[in-house]
């Protein structure tokens, strides 16, 4: 009879499947996990403390860097909290733009998730497929904000600017021949909305491709089915939100239940799982991508026929137009005050939450009436999910830890903040 020893295994923080900088201390009995102790904080940058020393608008860029694969959704949570305290609402066109970009972001996030999750459990091709589509969507980000990832596009009171009339074109270089350029620019002849619409036409077919690769794939199912099962009761106790909660069969989506932006005007469905295992969460997220596509389509239709302002008119809070600044003294003063001091929030506190691709993302702001937050607390969904790690992996094999990390859709920017 061979003697079986218990091991304490160190996983990460530089493990490729750790999705960033997760360090796990695993207590193993043979190959079975007895206890998982995640050590987080390796990416802790003190975002909340930094925000306390800056005027409100300067922290929007920090929000992008929290969950750095769903940038605009983080911004949305933050500006919603600000707008709630200021008592203003963005113009309806800005609300539609936000809704559309929230869903574009959701697709971006889920594409990275499916790519990385696939890669972790051995489906190499998914990564390449997912990044092909991400490229198109990041071009849309770039077209509206100038940045592919950290957009800083939302502002309290609206969005930074209206959608551009032209989509930037690829230019000939030593890497691209004329034929390449023609192919790359084929869909970019029109406006940004044309490009997005073209994408929404193509995208359902792409999701079909992913599903062909994965949904009935024997290896994929062997790695995911019955791994990390969470009952609805436990999911609530463990603070799971978003797809993690819906995978367990709880029908809860802030876009439906506590609608913000334009979600109450749009037609979409909420997919819900039944078994609460990793495979159900996979199916839920795949369906969410299709639903996001539907929402984007409806937003594009609305935005085409309804021009209008995209920024609130109160220039004590939002920047005046550039042309106005050239000739109007008051506009110049507004600009100067906003640039040097920012605006003051009324004293009080507010919490605003949105349905982030990963779950409930909320910002809690305490203001003492200053031009900087007194306290900003970011409620990141990944933090609560990560704390459920121990319960989800207990009794599973070492290889399943990777599946569980993948299914939780962990991004350390938001967990560590």
């Amino acid at each position: 009879m061979p003697e079986i020893k218990n091991f304490t295994l160190n996983f990460g923080p530089a493990h490729p499947a750790a999705h960033g900088v997760l360090r796990l201390i695993l207590e193993m009995d043979g190959e079975v996990i007895q206890r998982a102790d995640p050590h987080i904080g390796l990416l802790h940058r003190g975002t909340e403390k930094l925000a306390e020393s800056k005027p409100y608008n300067q922290s929007i860029g920090y929000m992008d860097r929290l969950d750095y694969v769903s940038m605009m959704c983080n911004e949305h949570g933050y500006v919603l909290a600000l707008e709630k305290m200021l008592g203003i609402e963005a113009p309806i066109r800005a609300q539609y733009i936000r809704t559309m970009f929230d869903e574009i972001t959701r697709i971006l996030n889920h594409l990275l998730w499916i790519g990385a999750h696939g890669l972790d459990v051995g489906a190499m091709t998914m990564f390449l497929y997912a990044f092909r589509e991400r490229e198109d969507l990041m071009d849309v980000y770039e077209a509206v904000s100038g940045a592919r990832l950290h957009a800083t596009y939302y502002r309290p009171g609206g969005v930074y600017r209206d959608l551009p009339d032209t989509m930037p074109l690829h230019e000939k270089s030593k890497w691209y021949s004329d034929a390449d350029i023609r192919r790359l620019n084929k869909n970019r002849g029109g406006s940004v909305l044309d490009f997005i619409e073209d994408f929404t036409q193509r995208f359902p077919h792409y999701v079909d491709e992913y599903e062909t690769l994965l949904t009935d794939n024997r290896i994929w199912k062997q790695r995911l089915v019955d791994i990390g099962i969470v009952s609805p009761e436990r999911a609530l106790q463990l603070g799971l939100t978003g797809a993690m909660l819906r995978g367990s069969g709880v029908e809860w989506d802030l876009r439906k239940k506590q609608p913000y932006a334009m979600y109450d005007q749009l037609d979409f469905d909420i997919p819900v799982g039944t078994n609460g295992d990793s495979y159900d969460r996979y199916l839920v997220r795949m369906e969410e991508m299709r639903q996001s596509n539907r929402i984007i389509n409806q937003c594009v239709d609305w935005l085409r026929i309804n021009p209008g302002p995209v920024m609130h008119e109160d220039h004590k809070i939002t920047q005046p137009k550039r042309e106005a600044m050239k000739g109007d003294m008051e506009a110049l003063i507004h600009h100067f005050k906003l640039a040097t001091e920012g605006y003051c929030l009324p004293e009080g506190e507010a919490y605003a939450a949105i349905e982030h691709p990963k779950g409930e993302f909320g910002c809690y702001i305490v203001s003492d009436g200053a031009n900087k937050p007194y306290r900003l607390k970011v409620r990141a969904p990944g933090f609560a999910h990560m704390s459920a790690m121990d319960e989800l992996t207990k009794g599973h094999m070492l290889a399943d830890v990777v599946t569980v990390i993948g299914t939780m859709d962990i991004v350390f920017g938001e967990v560590d903040r």
Partner: protein, 233 residues
């Protein structure tokens, strides 16, 4: 929604008569204040009561009220330098920290709860009695997710949670000293870390950069938000 919240507020006030210190509805959110010694009991009630039924804990965070309402903007001088007036120094010495006079309760623990069943939220604030050794009861047994949120509040603010199963630091480095989100902890920190070529290891040194204020903190009363306030800014 607001009518629903008012009903909830009335219900909680009638049942938890002496346990709720204050309850306010502002900006469409219900906030109740609970004394730390009653917190565990109230938490259990909020979860189990059929009218409130808060199955899910969304967030716990600490707040340090040390410099609440303090402006860095001194109107007596002139020029930009007037904007960096400080009541206390940030050189890290203990004397400077002790010099801050603070009356009242310094630390608060703020909890956000969500009811999936009734689709409502509540915010519970609880001010710790002791400013030197802030202490609360842990609600880890009521909502398991509280575990990490309480660890975070302990790590960043030094708030202790009674009966917490595993109260360790969570976000800061191994061997970190101090509680970084306290208002008397400087933004630039106390130590620098670098790799020393001669010692062949990572070493810690006193911080070498200076604290700067780019935009001074200024408090203005805005007529639009409080029409009743007398006088101008």
């Amino acid at each position: 929604m607001s009518a629903h919240l008012t009903t909830l507020q009335t219900h909680l006030e009638s049942v938890l008569v002496d346990k709720i210190e204050t309850s306010v509805i502002a900006l469409g959110e219900l906030t109740i204040e609970v004394a730390p010694q009653n917190w565990l009991e109230v938490a259990t009630f909020l979860r189990d009561d059929s009218v409130s039924s808060f199955e899910q804990l969304i967030d716990i965070c600490g707040v340090d009220y040390l410099t609440y309402g303090e402006s860095e903007w001194d109107n007596s001088g002139s020029g930009f330098s007037r904007g960096v007036k400080r009541e206390f120094s940030f050189d890290g010495s203990d004397d400077a920290v002790e010099a801050i006079e603070f009356e009242g309760k310094r630390f608060a623990v703020v909890t956000h709860l969500l009811s999936i069943k009734h689709n409502h939220r509540i915010r519970v604030k609880s001010y710790c009695d002791d400013n030197e050794f802030p202490m609360m009861d842990s609600v880890e047994g009521v909502w398991n997710v509280a575990n990490w949120f309480e660890r975070e509040a302990f790590d960043l603010f030094g708030i202790m949670f009674n009966n917490h199963p595993d109260l360790r630091r969570i976000l800061t480095d191994y061997g970190f000293v101090g509680h970084p989100f306290r208002k008397d902890f400087p933004l630039i920190g106390h130590v620098d870390m670098r790799y020393d070529e001669e010692l062949k290891r990572v070493i810690y040194e006193p911080v070498s950069i200076e604290d700067r204020t780019l935009v001074p903190r200024v408090i203005r009363t805005d007529q639009r938000f409080s029409p009743a306030v007398e006088g101008d800014e």
